[in-house]
């Protein structure tokens, strides 16, 4: 039975993702019929269909990348820290990325530069947390990492508060606020592709780590006894997760709850092993992102920020999942 599930499940996830992708690509205010869209994909469509594809394509890519990245990073952290509440913002990366973007918007930078600043800010916060934790040398350092991550995140949030206070209220402040609340629609194709690369690198690292993450979750002593270089591998895992989270926030803003919810849902389906949990989480995270992306523009021309939607849907969903799983055990 589980062998059957093992081969059916990836196929099912791929199918669902394709269906979701089709939905995103085929619907929108520029009422373009699906067959017109197909000819546009082939490169010979009417200008309007080409335009629709040019606008919806990056949106699809940004949503999938952001959702998968956050879910993968969340799953990685949950395994490493043996903590079901571990979220991608554990090392303060989301807050750091938000600060980077806000600073760039304060200085009037263009969209690509804002994305770059957000990416850099996220990595800076993560590096700060890792460096501070490395100074403590306590045991396997998991508690130190969490504390340093909280500190880095708090510093970034404080910086963000300062930026908000100083920003010009009629134009800069709304820009910053909207950026932080999240949107999949503002990325152009080059920006979306730029986000895919770090996420792909990070995801490849996490998937390669696979069973090694399981060993790391047993603790440093066990890991070393089983012959693994625990510290370098843990650093690799954390760096990969930080890379993925930074990239996700840089392209779409702060979208919470995906990184917490998707791994929990994936765990119910594929179990605890990292080798299957990480890819399954990423697939579910991408699907979730597609759903909220569709909802963002489903209620009129004004776009609902996806950060709000992910919280409004993700939090109750997480509660339901949690109650369901605790009833089971």
């Amino acid at each position: 039975m589980s062998r059957l599930r093992g081969s059916l499940l990836p196929a099912l996830l791929v199918l669902l993702t394709l269906a979701g992708a089709f939905l995103v690509l085929a619907t929108g205010p520029l009422g373009v019929t699906p067959d017109a869209l197909l000819t546009a994909v082939a490169g010979q469509g009417a200008p309007e269909a080409e335009l629709a594809l040019a606008l919806r394509g990056p949106r699809l890519l940004a949503a999938l990348t952001c959702g998968a990245a956050l879910a993968g990073a969340g799953a990685g952290f949950q395994i490493l820290f043996r903590n079901p509440l571990a979220a991608p913002d554990l090392l303060g990366v989301s807050s750091g990325a938000g600060l980077g973007a806000a600073l760039a918007l304060l200085l009037g930078a263009g969209a690509a530069l804002v994305q770059g600043a957000a990416f850099a800010g996220g990595l800076a916060a993560g590096t700060l947390a890792l460096a501070c934790a490395a100074l403590t040398r306590s045991g396997d350092g998991r508690l130190a990492l969490i504390l340093c991550g909280v500190v880095a995140g708090a510093l970034a949030s404080a910086g963000l508060g300062l930026v908000v206070v100083v920003a010009e209220p009629y134009s800069q402040l709304p820009s910053i606020t909207y950026w932080l609340l999240g949107s999949f629609t503002r990325a152009t194709m080059p920006e979306a592709v730029g986000a895919v690369v770090p996420v792909a690198v990070g995801a490849a690292a996490l998937i390669w780590l696979g069973f090694r993450l399981d060993i790391l979750s047993l603790g440093d002593e066990q890991a070393r006894s089983l012959g693994l270089p625990a510290r370098p591998l843990r650093l690799l895992a954390l760096a990969a997760a930080a890379l993925m989270t930074s990239s996700a926030v840089a392209v779409a803003g702060v979208v919470g709850w995906i990184g917490l919810l998707a791994p929990h849902a994936a765990r119910l389906i594929v179990g605890e092993r990292a080798g299957r949990l990480i890819p399954a989480s990423m697939a579910l995270g991408g699907l979730f992102a597609l759903v909220i992306d569709r909802l963002a523009t489903a209620f009129g021309p004004a776009e609902i920020p996806v950060g709000l939607l992910s919280a409004a849907i993700g939090a109750p969903a997480f509660l339901i999942l949690f109650v369901a799983t605790s009833r089971r055990s």
Binding site: W208, F211, I215, S217, E221, L226, G227, G271, R273, G275
Partner: protein
């Protein structure tokens, strides 16, 4: 498998405030295929010595002559994992899979064989955390077989186990040694020590190594633990 040799090894812990402790220097050679039992009161330093032999703690002085990578097993209850027993056992092969992205079916087969050998093969698909202490301990020893380390260091492997599981674990430990490994196990269960090949007694400021017959006579035990015992302190079996 060439055995374990220690040259003037001083195990201990140094704390920054100047406390800590050090054990006396240890010169020791144990041939392959032998079981060494470590006995001593709580806090004597058995765990510290085991971890030093395992390479988890740095020695304060002296050397362990390189015998290959040791494997260390913490006391029962220290290992917790949510994934399946089979996966946990197969992780013993991690050292061989330096660069590959996953465990091979061969690894899984080896794991299954080890589990079957210890008669816990029927638990292969259960989550590890759902097993009893005895079953968990057997699984972890199966992992030691899979790991195939030349030196196996077990910290109180019989603690908290009922007699049936204790017997099974002891048989497994003997089997580990029989395949040519050096097994060092600390224990409070003196009958187990009586059946080992050598016994290392760690006292408050001395260490003695000898055969079980030499080490387990009543006045050596009195000197070690400070109490009079006629049978095993924890289960009352006769010592012989």
């Amino acid at each position: 498998m060439s055995g374990l040799r220690l040259e003037g090894l001083v195990a201990g812990r140094l704390s920054r405030s100047g406390g800590g402790f050090r054990l006396p220097p240890l010169d020791l050679t144990i041939e392959a295929g032998k079981v060494l039992a470590l006995i001593g009161p709580n806090g004597a330093g058995k765990t510290t010595l085991l971890k030093t032999l395992a390479g988890l703690l740095p020695p304060l002085a002296g050397a362990i002559v390189d015998t290959g990578a040791p494997a260390y097993l913490p006391p029962p209850g220290a290992v917790s994992a949510g994934f399946s027993v089979l996966h946990l056992t197969a992780l013993g092969r991690a050292r061989l899979r330096r660069w590959s992205p996953g465990l091979t079916p061969d690894d899984l087969d080896t794991a299954r064989a080890a589990l079957d050998r210890l008669e816990v093969g029927h638990l292969a698909d259960h989550p590890f955390d759902r097993l009893s202490s005895g079953q968990q301990q057997l699984v972890l020893i199966a992992r030691l077989f899979v790991q195939d380390a030349p030196v196996c260091l077990l910290d109180e492997p019989l603690a908290l186990l009922d007699p049936a599981h204790a017997q099974a674990v002891e048989a497994a430990i003997q089997a580990l040694a029989a395949e040519g490994r050096v097994v060092v196990a600390s224990t409070h269960h003196l009958p187990f020590a009586a059946r080992a090949d050598r016994v290392l007694a760690i006292g408050p400021d001395w260490m003695e190594i000898g055969t079980p017959a030499e080490a387990l006579v009543p006045d050596r035990i009195r000197a070690l633990f400070g109490v009079e015992v006629s049978g095993c302190p924890c289960c009352g079996q006769a010592l012989s």
